[in-house]
């Protein structure tokens, strides 16, 4: 999936490293719900930092069903899941 990133876009980062499912999922969903409209509007993009490998499957699945574009990038010791407005 392609990540949309224009200059005016605001980046919101949620660091959930150290947390495991299902709380990771619930926190992520809460954030998505909170910023959902802005994400859809393309004004913001949401970055979730997690070291929980399972979350790299579950969060993208549900985010795609909500209509967001998702990208998972592996960092040194964690994953960056980026949600943005689908094209």
């Amino acid at each position: 999936m392609k990540k949309r990133m224009d200059k005016k876009q605001k980046n919101i980062e949620i660091d959930m490293r150290g947390q495991v499912c299902p709380s990771t999922m619930l926190v992520a969903l809460e954030a998505i719900n909170k910023y959902g409209d802005e994400l859809h509007g393309g004004m913001e993009q949401l970055c979730i930092l997690t070291d929980n490998r399972e979350a790299t499957n579950t969060i993208p699945d549900i985010a795609v069903n909500m209509g967001y574009a998702v990208q998972v990038d592996r960092q040194d010791s964690f994953y960056r899941i980026t949600l943005s407005c689908a094209e």
């Binding site: 499912c21 299902p22 709380s23 999922m25 619930l26 969903l29 809460e30 998505i32 719900n33 959902g36 399972e54 499957n57 579950t58 699945d61 549900i62 069903n65 909500m66 209509g67």
Partner: protein, 747 residues
């Protein structure tokens, strides 16, 4: 606190630890209701706690259920206490997420609906027929155009195999669907349907599921029947054009708009020396090598100025030549025309050219002939006048000769004068034959005599020796003596010129009987006299030998190239042939074949002159008609001398009057001698007709200074009994008149 108060408080605390602890025993009546109320509240509180625990458990269960639905693990009890669970509100979070999922699904459904409508629109508006098949060739869907193309009714429905509706039960070789399934890629093919009447292009593209398996195929059909038919028509047209171009006599070259060759036919290949395969793509100028009259190479700008010319035939000057790749030069005529595209712009040019070398030569020959013709007319006129004068001379000389003693010197001198006059007559004849050809005036002749005369005449003063061998029994032949002499003289002259240092010339005359198997071309079977003339000259090259009878062909610097052409023409007119055999270094031999006269003509005119003419023996009346007074006078003199009674007239009208008067008076003319040509008056040809109207039995002799006049050659057809060709002497006229009178008696 009172004692009772302390007891109650202690009881309540104990009761919390032990719900079955009975009420304390108290004597106070006042305390009893209070304790009962506490007990009631205690029990209600326990119930409520129990319900709260169940509610929390339920919530945890539902939260776990929701978490499972969204794909994650259940909550661990130690993870969140009840209060945190409630404050976190996972159900609210998940339901809000579901709302968003539903919203997205709705939006996706709307898009999907729109997309389906779009696909439907595309399917119906696309030019081709669209057929969707599942992986087992079952029809999933199709558009209206597909129905029309295949001639289906709408009842065909789906869920049936395409074999039933397209291949009609046959399993075609090279099925596009099968090929697509095999390769897994977009596949193109063709299909011929409608009982072979319709042609289709088919493109099959695979549709894969999310696992990449081909589950369906979209087949797009395009009806290309018109294209196929147009291609066939173009191919047919191309073939027709090819055969047309191959069969026409002109060279044809087509160029593109840059002047480069795009097509050329076989004649163009032959004329330019270029093969089509080598010439294609080259500039026209390279292949069509044109040189102007100054022999400078010129490059034709066919696509430029040339196409603007109003008369495309004038593309090249009349003296321009074309030089082939092998260096051969030829005169040519060329026309060029633009090839216009549909937008009327010049797409190229078509150049048509032909070899006009022969026509050009013919034109030159015609020009020569025309010059010769005018010389001929002049020569004819001179010859006519000459003959008239010669008639006077020859007549008078022959008369004078008869009036003298045969042995006298005067007689001898007169004889020589007569001979010279005869020679002058022959020269006049040659002049006429040279200039105008003319039909031979044939008479039965002994060719041996004629050959001898010609040889003597032609070889006088030359270094060439001649061996003339004439068969003793040589058949006579009907020839024009003057023309025959000219043939022999020409051939001898050529031989003499071929042997400037002298040599031997062998001339043979012999009889030949040819049957149908003879190898002599253009000769019918029969009896012939063959004359062979063989010289010891250098011979003729094989290159020239086929051309030597062509007019104006000569190898001599000052030659006209007419001598052998005249020989050929004369012999032809005698129904004979003239052929040549030669080899360089071995001399040249000419063979002449002339038809021999029949056996009844055996008495040849071996002595054309009357050997004995008796003065004064003639009896009868003769009417002379001639416009020339000198001729008239000498003729009258000669005929009188022979003993006839002569009356003179100067033209046809006068002759007719005199003839009519003579008939009326009872003293008709026995013979009339008429000149054929009377300038400004009625000539013999017309007068003889009118005379026969007056007297059908009239005997008329034709006389003319134009010795090759066609009337003389075929006199009886014009109504004449005989001919007295000018110039004539006493013998000539005597013989003709006597012959006419003889026939009169026989009649």
């Amino acid at each position: 606190m009172t004692k009772i108060g302390k007891e109650i408080t202690t009881w309540v605390e104990q009761r919390r630890k032990n719900p079955d602890l009975p009420l304390p025993k108290t004597d106070s009546a006042e305390m009893q209701p209070l304790l009962a109320l506490i007990d009631e509240l205690e029990q209600e509180n326990r119930k409520l706690r129990c319900r709260h625990g169940a509610a929390i458990s339920y919530i945890r269960g539902k939260v776990d259920q929701l978490l499972e639905v969204i794909g994650t693990v259940p909550l661990r009890p130690e993870e969140l206490d009840d209060a945190t669970l409630i404050s976190l509100d996972p159900i609210g979070i998940v339901s809000e997420s579901f709302r968003r999922i539903l919203e997205n699904s709705r939006a996706t459904n709307d898009k999907l609906h729109l997309a389906m409508q779009e696909i439907k629109g595309i399917l119906e508006s696309v030019g081709g027929g669209v057929l969707v098949l599942d992986c087992h060739k079952k029809i999933v869907s199709y558009n209206q155009r597909c129905c029309e193309m295949m001639g289906w009714s709408h009842e065909n429905g789906t869920d049936r195999s395409c074999r039933d509706f397209i291949c009609r039960g046959d399993h075609p070789q090279g099925c596009v669907f099968d090929e697509m399934m095999r390769t897994g890629r977009l596949t193109k093919g063709s299909y011929c349907g409608g009982d072979g009447q319709r042609h289709f292009d088919v493109v099959a593209s695979p549709i894969r599921d999310s696992q990449g398996t081909i589950v369906r195929a979209v087949l797009l059909y395009h009806d290309i029947t018109e294209l196929v038919e147009a291609k066939a028509a173009v191919a047919q047209e191309k073939e027709r054009l090819f055969f047309t171009l191959a069969s026409i006599a002109e060279g044809v070259i087509a160029t593109n708009r840059h002047g480069r060759i795009s097509l050329m036919n076989q004649v163009a290949e032959r004329l330019t020396g270029w093969r089509s395969s080598q010439a294609l793509g080259r500039p026209l100028c390279d292949v069509l090598q044109v040189f102007n009259s100054e022999d400078q190479h010129i490059c034709l700008d066919i696509l430029g100025n040339v196409l603007l010319e109003e008369d495309p035939e004038q593309v090249v000057g009349s003296n321009a030549t074309l030089r082939s790749r092998t260096g051969e030069k030829l005169f040519f005529a060329m026309s060029a025309a633009p090839i216009l595209s549909q937008e009327k712009s010049v797409a190229g040019a078509i150049v048509v050219f032909r070899d006009i070398t022969k026509e050009k030569k013919l034109e030159e020959e015609m020009a020569k002939s025309s010059r010769i013709e005018s010389i001929g007319q002049l020569a004819g006129g001179i010859a006519h006048d000459f003959n008239n004068l010669l008639t006077a001379m020859l007549g008078n000389v022959s008369l004078a000769k008869m009036m003298t003693d045969c042995d006298s010197k005067v007689h001898q001198l007169l004889s020589q004068t007569e001979k010279a006059s005869a020679r002058a007559r022959d020269l006049t004849q040659q002049l006429l034959t040279f200039a105008r050809g003319g039909n031979p005036v044939k008479s039965l002749s002994s060719l041996g005599e004629l050959l001898k005369e010609s040889v003597d005449f032609s070889l006088s003063g030359s270094k060439v020796r001649c061996e003339l061998t004439v068969a003793e029994d040589l058949w006579p032949a009907e020839v024009d003596q003057g023309q025959f002499g000219q043939v022999i003289q020409n051939l001898i002259l050529n031989a003499v010129q071929a042997m400037p240092e002298g040599g031997l010339l062998r001339i043979n005359a012999e009889n030949r009987s040819l049957d149908g198997r003879s190898l002599v071309p253009q000769v019918t079977s029969g009896n012939y006299v063959q004359i062979t003339i063989r010289d010891q000259g250098p011979g003729i090259s094989s290159q020239d030998i086929n051309k030597i009878f062509d007019p104006y062909f000569t190898t001599k610097e000052l030659g006209q190239g007419l001598g052998l052409a005249i020989c050929y023409s004369i012999i032809k007119k005698h129904q004979g042939t003239i052929t040549v055999e030669s080899e360089p270094g071995w001399g040249t031999t000419f063979y002449i074949l002339l038809p021999a006269a029949g056996a009844d003509a055996a008495a040849a005119d071996t002595a054309p002159q009357v050997t004995e003419t008796s003065a004064g023996k003639g009896r009868g009346r003769v009417l002379i008609m001639d416009d020339e007074e000198v001729v008239r006078d000498v003729a009258a003199e000669m005929i009188s001398f022979l003993g006839y009674e002569v009356v003179e007239s100067c033209d046809g009208e006068e002759a007719l009057v005199l003839y009519a008067e003579a008939m009326e008076s009872g003293r008709p003319f026995d013979v009339v001698v008429m000149d054929l040509t009377i300038p400004g008056g009625m000539g013999g040809k017309e007068a003889v007709q009118k005379l026969h109207e007056l007297d059908p039995a009239a005997r008329v002799l034709a006389s003319s200074g134009y010795a090759n006049d066609p009337v003389l050659a075929d006199f009886s057809r014009y109504g004449f009994k005989g001919v007295v060709a000018k110039p004539y002497g006493v013998e000539g006229v005597a013989k003709a008149v006597e012959k006419a009178l003889q026939e009169q008696e026989e009649d």
